[in-house]
Amino acid sequence: KKDRFFEVFNEINDNFRDIYAELSGGGEAYLELENKDDPFAGGMNIKVRPKGKKVHNISALSGGEKSMASLALIFAIQRYDPSPFYVLDEIDMYLDNINAEAVSRMIKENSSFAQFILISLRKVTLKEADHIYGVTMREDGISEIIGAVDLSAIGPHGEISVGGG
């Protein structure tokens, strides 16, 4: 049981290190066990050092930096043991455009191994998708789905111009 845990932990930790370095353009991140001898007796911490900074106590990181570390861990687990599908709701909400683009590019790459469903308001994320669905709320309070939306049909205010009825 312990051997099996270490096998999984080491693989995911290696992935985490690589993926965070790629996503953040050169930062360092790794997972650390509170109790190396008996992992089940303690927890697991995340250590992050964004590019050009000292290793930080995770609570001093910014909203965007925390998001990038969280997402890198999700992708690290996916690389080891992909789930059949992912439903990610506005994961880009803290990200500036550069980081949002890096994340959606990585999702695009990963989407050949698993199905990704992303909810987003930002064009920088939407533009990487294979299919885009629009959702609108009708006057009478009923939601409607608009089939494949063309990115150019999304107005500057995020409104979706619907062809036909």
Binding site: K66, Y86, H131
Partner: protein, 167 residues
């Protein structure tokens, strides 16, 4: 999906392989689609699908208050050619349905129905099938709105448990 939250009609959303994005104005119903998927996967508590009681999931009639719906139903259609789900068929349709059954002392009473490929089943059947395929209503692969930093902010032991589940 039929009468689920703000989707007051029958709606089918095909999810193709690859990267699908969903967009639209605030309050249009995007996160409700995520809730519909989680609803079928059987989360432990209604809070995980932003409801206090399961009857909150049934379309409430929208603006013209006359006709709140009586039931809501969501089906997830899985491509099971790789037999990840321990069911012997190429497609597996998991359907969950909630029907209002008001009683004198409890207006929010309801009946819950589960179906696997159209045949009546139970929540335990769902959970058994899904756990074998390592799918759950609370998995790390489902990130709710506002939760993107949760892996960093959760406690160390809870975080370690994610590795335990994979091992």
């Amino acid at each position: 999906m039929e009468n689920f939250k703000s989707f007051g009609r029958k709606v089918v959303i095909p999810f193709f392989p690859g990267f699908t994005a969903i967009t639209g104005p605030n309050g249009s119903g995007k996160s409700n689609i995520g809730d519909a998927i989680r609803f079928v996967l059987g989360p432990k508590s209604p809070k995980a699908i932003r409801a206090e009681r399961l009857t909150d999931l049934i379309f409430n009639g929208g603006k013209n208050k006359k006709r709140p719906a009586n039931y809501c139903e969501v089906s997830l259609v899985f491509d099971n050619r790789d037999r990840k789900l321990p069911v012997d068929s190429d497609t597996v349709v998991l359907t969950r349905r909630i029907k209002r059954a008001p009683l004198k002392d409890n207006p929010d009473n309801f009946y819950s129905y589960f179906y696997i490929n159209g045949k009546s089943a139970s929540l335990t059947d769902f959970v058994n099938i899904l756990t074998k395929a390592r799918i759950s209503g609370e998995g790390y692969n489902l990130v709710k709105q506002g939760d993107v930093t949760s892996l960093v902010e959760m406690g160390p032991v809870e975080r370690r448990k994610i590795i335990d589940e994979i091992a």
